[in-house]
């Protein structure tokens, strides 16, 4: 069986997968774009090969080149991570054709679940409820979609057929605005997946996004590892995930029913390896199949911390033909885990992406804290890839303990050089509705504002004034000194570069 694994990805997930391989005694091969020579996955891997220029199309999406590298260096398997080539059936097939193990499901399963329209029909046929929407096959024209929309009813969602992660997704309130939204959705889908096809889905209001993590081996055993709550989203991008879901909570019956339906949906496509079934759950605990992600999820760590199962290692073991080491009865949920996605974006400037060299990091550590990251102090965050660069995951015996631990971790976390959404998470975690577990997928956009004034902020107004004045005072004094004396010596250069950092 394979002894060397090529990781066809970058960032935190490439680092995560390299770690799993190392801990299994497997050799690791990184691939990288010109922008990523200094990236952590390149530093940590045993081998590393250049793919091409920074843009994904010329590097991380070059499946042909990646397979060629794997063959040349003798890697017997490829782990695709998430994004990029992870859900491309043609890539999985090309691996198989080259005698390389694709660490994931069979191409046929990726294809059935990857085309969201096919997926809906397949699972519906297996007796799983789906969210009402377009059921037609293949590429639908705008005319068709505009005609079907009123039948489904507004509000509805335009979604990318090849999609995921909120890319190419648009909410539509009425028929009038639909043509414009179709255009921008197709444009984004084309840019993200190389496929501009879209479909429609009814927008279930007040719904939660809850998903089931699955593991399936080649021997036909399929188990589920509890659920994850992923309702905290912005622009259809998940921001915070939990395991278990505060909505499911003690309702073991609901958990089991969702799990069993998820297993049935996976079995309907002969699913092998790790995968996730996403559901929308309404207030009355009715749940509807949304889509299946035929790959590792960003949020897998919360499940790992609560079940004790190392999902990435299990993926590799499955790909090596091993039987699952766990049966359904072995899976217990122990405690509570919450993940915050730390994105390079400015929460005070409409979440605009932020790039630059990270000059300093003080990470939170200590009991119950896990960080998955692809960066380090000195690394440059570039505009070419996703803004997610770090995940902060905490575990507690109870949800309350996990939240308190998250609060102290977010406060401890210092990142300088790019703006991050850490302040967003701090405000969110402090909100009463989050603490109470009372939120749906539209909570962040409709009921939450980072700008909202709160009592404790006012209390520190004088402290903010003092700090700003002291910094400004130092700045003025130093600037005067430099201008007056024209002293551009070593210590002043150091100071000047520091001020440059400050104005980032």
């Amino acid at each position: 069986m394979f002894k060397k694994v090529l990781i066809a990805n970058r960032g935190e997930i490439a680092v995560r997968i390299i770690r799993a391989c190392r801990e299994l005694g497997l050799q690791t091969v990184a691939v990288f774009s010109e922008a990523d020579r200094r990236a952590l996955h390149v530093r940590n891997a045993d081998e590393a090969y250049l793919l091409g220029p920074a843009p994904s199309r010329e590097s991380y999406l070059r499946g042909d080149k990646i397979i060629e590298i794997a063959r040349t260096c003798g890697a017997g398997a490829i782990h695709p991570g998430y994004g990029f080539l992870a859900e491309r059936a043609d890539f999985a097939q090309a691996c198989a054709d080259s005698g390389i193990v694709f660490i994931g499901p069979k191409p046929s399963a990726i294809a059935s679940m990857g085309d969201k329209a096919v997926a809906r029909r397949t699972v519906a046929a297996a007796g799983v409820l789906v969210v009402p929407g377009t059921e037609a096959v293949g590429a639908l024209h705008d005319d068709d979609l505009l005609a079907i929309a009123p039948v489904i009813g507004f509000p509805l969602l335009i979604k990318a057929t090849a999609g995921g992660g909120g890319k190419g997704m648009r909410e539509v309130a009425n028929l009038e605005e639909m043509p414009g939204l179709l255009r921008s959705a197709r444009r984004e889908a084309e840019a993200s997946f190389g496929d501009g096809n879209v479909y429609l889905e009814k927008l279930i209001e007040g719904a939660r996004h809850i998903e089931i993590q699955l593991l399936a081996d080649q021997q036909g055993n399929t188990i589920f590892l509890g659920e994850r709550e992923c309702s905290i989203q912005r622009r259809h991008q998940k921001l915070v995930e939990e395991c278990p879901s505060p909505f499911v909570g003690e309702d073991q019956d609901l958990r089991n029913r969702m799990g069993q339906v998820a297993v049935r949906a996976a079995q309907a496509v002969d699913y092998v390896n790790a995968g996730t079934i996403e559901f929308l759950v309404d207030k009355d605990s009715n749940f509807y199949f949304l889509e299946m992600n035929t790959r590792l999820q960003v949020e897998h760590p919360v499940t790992e911390m609560v079940t004790g199962v190392d999902i990435v290692k299990e993926q590799i073991r499955i790909a090596r033909g091993r039987q699952l080491r766990y049966q359904q009865d072995d899976i217990d949920l122990n405690g509570w885990a919450i993940e915050c996605r730390i994105n390079a974006e400015d929460p005070y400037n409409n979440f605009m992406p932020s790039t630059g060299v990270i000059t300093h990091i003080t990470p939170p550590t200590g009991p119950g804290v896990r960080i998955d990251t692809g960066v380090y102090a000195g690394f440059a965050v570039t505009p070419y890839y996703d803004s997610l660069f770090t995940k902060l995951i905490v575990w507690g015996e109870t949800r309350a303990e996990a939240i308190l631990r998250l609060r102290r971790s977010l406060e401890e976390y210092k990142i300088v050089g790019v703006r991050t959404n850490i302040p967003f998470h701090q405000k969110l975690v402090d909100s009463h509705r989050f603490m109470g577990g009372q939120f749906d997928t539209r909570f962040v956009e409709e009921r939450f504002s980072i700008e909202s004034t709160e009592d404790d902020a006012d209390a520190d107004l004088d402290i903010a004034a003092i700090i700003a004045t002291l910094v400004a005072h130092r700045y003025n004094q130093r600037a005067t000194n430099i201008v007056q004396r024209g002293k551009r010596d070593a210590s002043n250069w150091k100071w000047i570069s520091r001020w440059e950092r400050m104005q980032h």
Partner: protein, 166 residues
């Protein structure tokens, strides 16, 4: 040294007495102020309490990020403050708005043309960065001028892409 420090509606009269004392609105504070590894992270001990904040200077405003809260702060001496207050009215209206790239990226589409009239909130340009498409909107009514980019162009951070005039 005396400063007038403003956060929103609140104004503080701040006097820096010496390295470990500061007078705020007539009240004296004992403090110990230090930066963390020459980074824009500051540690302030004031009357025993420990605070830590990021401080950035953006367009003349000190942005203080502390305990998860954001404070935009103006720090001026009396002369500066007087000047700003007296000319505020005349500067506020008129002039041009320059749309600068908030980050490096690629121009996806420019739905406006030179000379076109736009209203506040209209999309001027869509910029892609980090796989996200960001719609940049007009903060005011006006006419589009100086359109310097087209779709497919790569732009640097702070690069001016177009302007909107009265």
């Amino acid at each position: 040294m005396r400063y007038i420090t403003t956060i929103g509606e609140r104004e503080f009269a701040v006097e820096i007495v010496d390295d470990s004392h500061i007078l705020v609105d007539g009240k004296i504070y004992e403090l110990n102020f230090d930066s963390v590894e020459d980074q824009p992270v500051y540690s302030l001990l004031v009357d025993g309490y420990s605070h830590e904040a990021y401080v950035y200077l953006v367009d003349g405003v000190w942005q203080v990020l502390m305990h998860g809260h954001f404070y935009p702060v103006m720090v001026e001496d009396e002369g500066e403050k007087r000047l700003r207050t007296s000319v505020a009215g005349s500067l506020h209206h008129g002039g041009e708005y320059h749309l600068k790239a908030p980050m490096p990226g690629m121009v996806v589409t420019v739905p406006v043309e030179e000379g076109q009239a736009v209203a506040k909130g209209d999309v001027l340009l869509v910029l892609e960065s980090m796989k996200m498409q960001n719609e940049l909107k007009s903060p005011r009514d006006g006419i589009v001028t100086h359109l310097r980019v087209k779709s497919g162009d790569r732009v640097e951070q702070h690069q001016t892409m177009l302007s909107v005039v009265d």
